[in-house]
Symmetry: C2
Subunit: 668 residues, 2 copies
Amino acid sequence: MIPTPASVKESNVDVLIIGAGPAGYMAATWFARMGVDARIIDKRSTNIVTGQADGLQPRSLELLHSFGLGYHVKKEASVGYEACFYEPDEEGIIRKVDTKPEGVPGISRHNGSVIHQGRIENWFAGAIEEFSQGSMRVERPILPESLQIDASKLDSTGAYPVTIVLKKLSDESASPEQFGHKVENGLYCQFQGDQVAQAGEPAESKEIFHAKYVLGCDGAHSWVRKQLGIVHAGETTDDVWGVIDIVPITDFPDIRRRCSIHSKNDGSIMVIPREGDLVRLYIQLTEVPHEPGANGVSTSGNPEKAKDAGEKARADRSKITAEAILEAAQKIFKPYTLEVAETRWFTAYQIGQRIANAFQKDERVFIAGDACHTHSPKAGQGMNVSMQDTYNLAFKIAYVVKGLTKPNILSTYEQERRAVAEDLLSYDTRLAKLFSGKPGEVSTEEFRAVIDKGSAFTTGCTTNYESSLLVDKPSGLPRDVPYSSPLARNLPIGIRIPDAKFITECDGRPWFLHEKLPSNGHFRVLVFIGDFGRIPKLKANLNQIGTFLSMAESFLRKYTCREEESPIEAMLLHCSPQELVDWGEFPLAFRPRNSQRIMDYWKIFADRPSFHDETINGYRTYGIDKTIGAAVVLRPDGHVAKVVEPTTEGIMEINEWFEKFMIRSAGN
Amino acid sequence: MIPTPASVKESNVDVLIIGAGPAGYMAATWFARMGVDARIIDKRSTNIVTGQADGLQPRSLELLHSFGLGYHVKKEASVGYEACFYEPDEEGIIRKVDTKPEGVPGISRHNGSVIHQGRIENWFAGAIEEFSQGSMRVERPILPESLQIDASKLDSTGAYPVTIVLKKLSDESASPEQFGHKVENGLYCQFQGDQVAQAGEPAESKEIFHAKYVLGCDGAHSWVRKQLGIVHAGETTDDVWGVIDIVPITDFPDIRRRCSIHSKNDGSIMVIPREGDLVRLYIQLTEVPHEPGANGVSTSGNPEKAKDAGEKARADRSKITAEAILEAAQKIFKPYTLEVAETRWFTAYQIGQRIANAFQKDERVFIAGDACHTHSPKAGQGMNVSMQDTYNLAFKIAYVVKGLTKPNILSTYEQERRAVAEDLLSYDTRLAKLFSGKPGEVSTEEFRAVIDKGSAFTTGCTTNYESSLLVDKPSGLPRDVPYSSPLARNLPIGIRIPDAKFITECDGRPWFLHEKLPSNGHFRVLVFIGDFGRIPKLKANLNQIGTFLSMAESFLRKYTCREEESPIEAMLLHCSPQELVDWGEFPLAFRPRNSQRIMDYWKIFADRPSFHDETINGYRTYGIDKTIGAAVVLRPDGHVAKVVEPTTEGIMEINEWFEKFMIRSAGN
């Protein structure tokens, strides 16, 4: 046992998040939004201020918007619309051979955007502060010292089975080594901060947390992962890449488009335009000095590092300078000139591809993000998949902690996110090989074909969760073939609901439905009742559904003491013309009054043209027949969980489905 | 002369703004944005927190967006899309007779929105702080005591001819009387704060300002207007209206749409849905107690008030309660029920229609907003026209103060804004008569026809400035018939440029052009060169224009020492397909490098489909022939000033036009 001097503070907490990168921040944002007692710690004394990840893919942008953070992106980020491909001609001179759309047109309202990771973390910090009304914020610099799970408490929902000892560092010892800060040669070294490196650091104080759940969002060198004895399987490749953020001076005509440039003999480069005048270049380095004790034997005296490097020779990153990276870039850019008005940041990395052999222990301690999977930054996925990991996980923990669901839903985290990690590594492997290959060795058409095929995957909008307690579809289906009910042909079950336009019935205002599906923790039942104004049978169905939803046995009522606090929200989406609709005849279940008798006007939608927008098109977009309709269950993360007929029988099926994991409130 | 004790602080300031309502804030925002030495004072100790104006019309929304404040509106405001008209049927029961679009579909990207005036003022306060880097903010509570213009200094641009003595009040004496704050019966009385009322207030300190320019944005009872001896001509009508902000409990089906309801015998009501659950009701009061000493003889002992009331009997507003207003509303709403969950604010007013007989004195002291014109709130215009007044005025003063233009442009303020005020009063008179008229007396179809006709006017997007130094078109044209050059048929000269979609050439990103025309003080020359990729003559024109613009004699260079600080910006908008365009061949005038040689990529646009947006349509929207093109001058307020051919001759014409009011920089 851990010695506990009387002066050490000891607290209970429902959830402890270790690590305030994108995965940790996303989890904290969910917990703050859902009112969960959570704390988040980080070993660094401040947010990062330059470099690191910078690409926000469309699905991540949807998540930011769903938490009300979208306007920051609009204001600050660079948005990508086109991608160019340059290849050497017969004389070895690079030529533009193709221009393609960036991403997949129409897959999302948002195009892939680029902004410094530190800005994103700041937005999250603001959201956490706002949602928690100031009670939650990242506590730093704090280092975890030990983690123990008490097996005897695992089956008790009220217990705190995980004990973590934390040590508060002095600010100075925890400053990350960033460009211009500590490292003289300008090389950015990811702050390791593991126990070996930090053993000698003086602690200002210690604190013991007893937690119901712990999330390890502590990066590629995850301390949590090591405590759990989880193996990070995979290897480091030979490829070494330099990354540099510059304000360029160039006659290259596509410097504000994303570009892939393959040169004949000088390697490859990726051009990523960023906010303001900045451009990021990823450059394959062909001449790299290696550490003297190569082949797995590190000279640093740090066995962890050697293990992380796998079997490959380790590049000596300290020998790689901004000048060397830029020189390599200039060779590839020829005959175009490339000078630099300002160098903002640079680093070098050797690509490692690894995946953790478990994402959790005892369904009490979870790891997410880089702690689960590492890969190259080529597809711009790292930060995105990390955020999406905890976007998947945190609402489930929140439901369990709040006593709304049984813990049985937690197993879906690893099931769902491991599949994504595997797909990502597989795509990354193909991409890295093609990208590093010299023209002639790999077909450049093959290269573009892989990128084409991967475009939808990299948007994050096609992530397809398999059959489970939270995804009601046949099991054993292939992940890359979407499965839909014939009732809603374009709403594949397991995939996030695509966006579509409706108007609010009460005021005729056009909306993208996503705007009305904020991440607030609600499961949602969307009743697409069809053209009930013209079809009496549908109107009868609507009335019957309304009656059922008002009963104590309905999912709207039985999981809550007060209806207005129901974790499940019902929305009605019809497609009848206005003259056939009478507001007073809509069932009250879809326009409920709160305890002050104030009506909620915002749950009834119509698919019909607005005076101001002719393109309202929800039913067609979703592939729903206006004479039949559909009832669709959405999870709190927006993924389609279940599709049934919009009848009492269908609604009863949904009612039974919720019973599998929801817990009735004590008042019911 | 004013006695100046040694202890009184004395300062010079380029511009002093008196009054921090919408007009004053808009002026301050412009000055902060353009780097003008300005100060803004207000007599109230805090921003208003409830009530007052709340409607933002489309043009006002465009202005807020142009200062980067649009996201606040998106986040907080209620947006109107539909308007309903209720009239009594033969049995006297109110029925919906029509539903119309709110505003004019397509006239702007933004629909009329509703948000409490205090929020808007807060957004402005934030913008001023940001633009001025913290150096400008509203100074309060401060009351002006005297204003003098020194005629001997009027002709000197460097002089400070206006002397204002200010007195700083204690916070308590300046608290506005608002609902729940001071007034026991809940009646809101506009804080008068003029000298009569404030004569006895103790001053904490005094300060003397010597200003080049003074703006009186001090409301309907403008102190500045009185100092200038300007007459506020017009009269108060008999109509008394109550206004109340409530959270309603009702079965009225259109409570979230804007409604006009005419009852048979109980008067009229306007329903304005607001942010959150709030709804504002404007109710015609049929039974109103009048002050005992009516007909211009006030019992308040305040002769100013009596004068303001004109010849009409003055309603005793203190007798009008929230209950009385609500009761009147309930009668009109019948057979629908109307209860109240919460009453947030209410007031009553007697409609006055007045216009100042001058908007300035010596072109050194100007008045704007309510100080120039008062009218009923029916068309939702007060705050909007007030903001648009100073949006018109302040950039002109900024140009003069910065020594960039001659003072001769200042006369266009009164010319342009008096016309708007006159149109507004004329519309308001018609509307008020129709609205107050009982069914049977006025045709309800006539009523709706007037509203239809007024819709475009009330959006603010069709404001048409007449021929002047800053609007180059034939004089004597009727204001209500737009005048366009055949080169740009849908860009009427004198009206703000409508919005249209283009892509940025450098990255293929779709934009609404308005997004690239922020209010930053620039005049802009938009060169629509046409399809120069296919038409050699246009390509030759482009090159010649590029050459001219790079010469010292061009308007881009001669009014500035450093080209990158030119007050005039040139933008190129072509319509050639990408494969016929070579970035390296665009003249450098449209992709200039700054002193660090960093290129500005954002001034070249194309009208061609984007991968992500098929609806790019700028040339068609503007009515410009792709084989001819046009060159269009925009003023800093976005109004079209001049249209010529996109040839060297056309550009030379523009060059000569700028000479009429611009001042060459000393370095040229």
